[in-house]
Amino acid sequence: MVNLIWKDILIQKRQIPIYLGIIILCFWEDGVPLWWLAFITSISFIMNAFYYDEKDNINILLNSLPYTRKQIVISKYLGALVFTGLFIGVIMGGGFIINGMELSFSWKDILHTFGLIMAFLSIIFPFFYKFKQQYLMIGAMVLFVVAVFAFRIVMQIFNEQFDKVFQWLASLPELQLYSFTALVILLLYSASWLLSMRIYERKVF
């Protein structure tokens, strides 16, 4: 499994200078929140690894090597967390040096980044496993439009209920709010993981 995570780094080793370049550039731009920068770089890195695997028939290779399909999927979900951690580390470290030995990344920023990444991947990964690359862009756009409309309609219908939920959330002490959100995201990520595993186990190459 560690091999498979390491593989995702190895296949992008030529792009690593580009990621670092973007990070350094953003340090000069004051407006970019660092947790957002960590989110964008991690997501690009994770999706890019996925794209390379699809493009070059790598699933045939991986499934012919002594790996199980479970391991292949798990490595993507765990790898995503590892890479996010690495990017946060690099950005924190860089900020620490450039901004004059000051920690520019609070623990909240770290939680935000992980939370966003996990929520985003929970939805995206099963689609990636289910559909072929060329349909994904179209699919993502359609999904986005549908999601926006669905969100509006749902909000209109359940306006009151949502208000209550938000009020309840807002009334929570910060620690509880974070724990609650963390729990929801963890559940979402685990459910997505199980779903991807099911999809991938049934896949043919």
């Binding site: 296949i11 390379y52 290779l61 012919s64 049934r202």
Partner: protein
């Protein structure tokens, strides 16, 4: 004799194509050639054996184990070569080795290096600059570098020049000196098999036609040539298929002795090539012998 691969009543359907009730076995310690025309189901069968596809029904075992319970143990012992590229185009062979090596417990760098030298492969050039033959050589080098007991290859000789094709056959021959190894490979360049195959498994339209020892094929089968007046509705049944022309007929039989006793001296019998057998079987649709 021990079977390394066993398929029993395996069926797999796709749109417009299916592998039907396939039961075949590959014997340990031998080279088995897997022949059949395009679309006969060779690649599908190989993918089923590699667990890249799941059968609709029937059972598949490799080394006596099934993929459901022993997938990793099975794949640890298989070296594979496919017809298509399965490497990252933008990486070098050196990087590919770094990715593949840790997957195997018994990887041997010295053997890998030996084959890289022998095949004259560049380690530091991107795979996308490789020719089809070079990609195949790279696959083969990897397949042979982790003490695999079973080498499975899908059309390894297609896209290779004649010189390397012969070289490949020599390498496989050398490999077989170690009696524990088994080679199973599909091809439609049937002359490759003359040099090396012990057994032939023949597939036609998704159906198993025969599994025979190589020498036995020429004992059973014959190309028969004779005058047209020998053919009638009954005698034509004796052939897999016949081709008629103004000067006579030519047909394939799967029962040489019977033809000899039936027609005696009035026909000429010739040794068939595997290509003859594939051609007439395709033409006749079905074998009765």
């Amino acid at each position: 004799m021990e079977n390394v691969i066993e398929l029993q009543n395996v069926t797999k359907s796709f749109k417009g194509f299916q592998v039907k009730d396939l039961s075949i076995a590959v014997k340990k310690g031998f080279v088995t050639g897997f022949i059949g025309g395009n679309g006969a189901g060779k690649s599908t069968t190989i993918k089923l054996i590699m667990n890249l596809l799941k059968q609709d029904s029937g059972s598949i075992s490799v080394f006596g184990l099934t993929h459901e319970t022993n997938e990793r143990a099975i794949k640890e012992r298989i070296g594979f070569v496919y017809d298509e590229n399965i490497f990252y185009e933008n990486l070098t062979l050196k990087d590919m080795k770094k990715i593949i090596r840790p997957a195997y417990q018994q990887w041997d760098d010295a053997i890998f290096q030996k084959y890289i030298n022998q095949f004259e492969l560049p380690l530091n050039k991107k795979i996308k600059t490789f020719s089809k033959g070079m990609k195949m050589k790279a696959s083969l080098a990897i397949a042979l570098s982790h003490q695999a007991e079973l080498i499975i290859m899908d059309e390894p000789t297609s896209g290779l020049d004649p010189v390397f094709r012969r070289e490949l056959l020599n390498i496989l021959h050398e490999l077989m000196q170690d009696g524990d190894k088994t080679i199973f490979f599909s091809t439609h360049i049937t002359t490759d098999l003359d040099r090396i195959a012990d057994y032939i498994i023949f597939l036609n339209d998704g159906e198993h036609v025969f599994t025979k020892e190589f020498y036995k094929i020429q004992e059973d089968y014959a190309i028969v040539k004779g005058p047209l007046d020998l053919l009638d509705a009954d005698t034509e049944q004796e052939f897999v298929a016949v081709q008629k022309s103004n000067i006579g007929f030519e047909g394939l039989t799967g029962n040489k002795e019977r033809i000899e006793s039936l027609f005696g001296e009035s026909v000429v019998l010739e040794k068939p090539t595997l290509e003859d057998i594939m051609y007439y079987t395709k033409k006749g649709g079905r074998l009765n012998g």
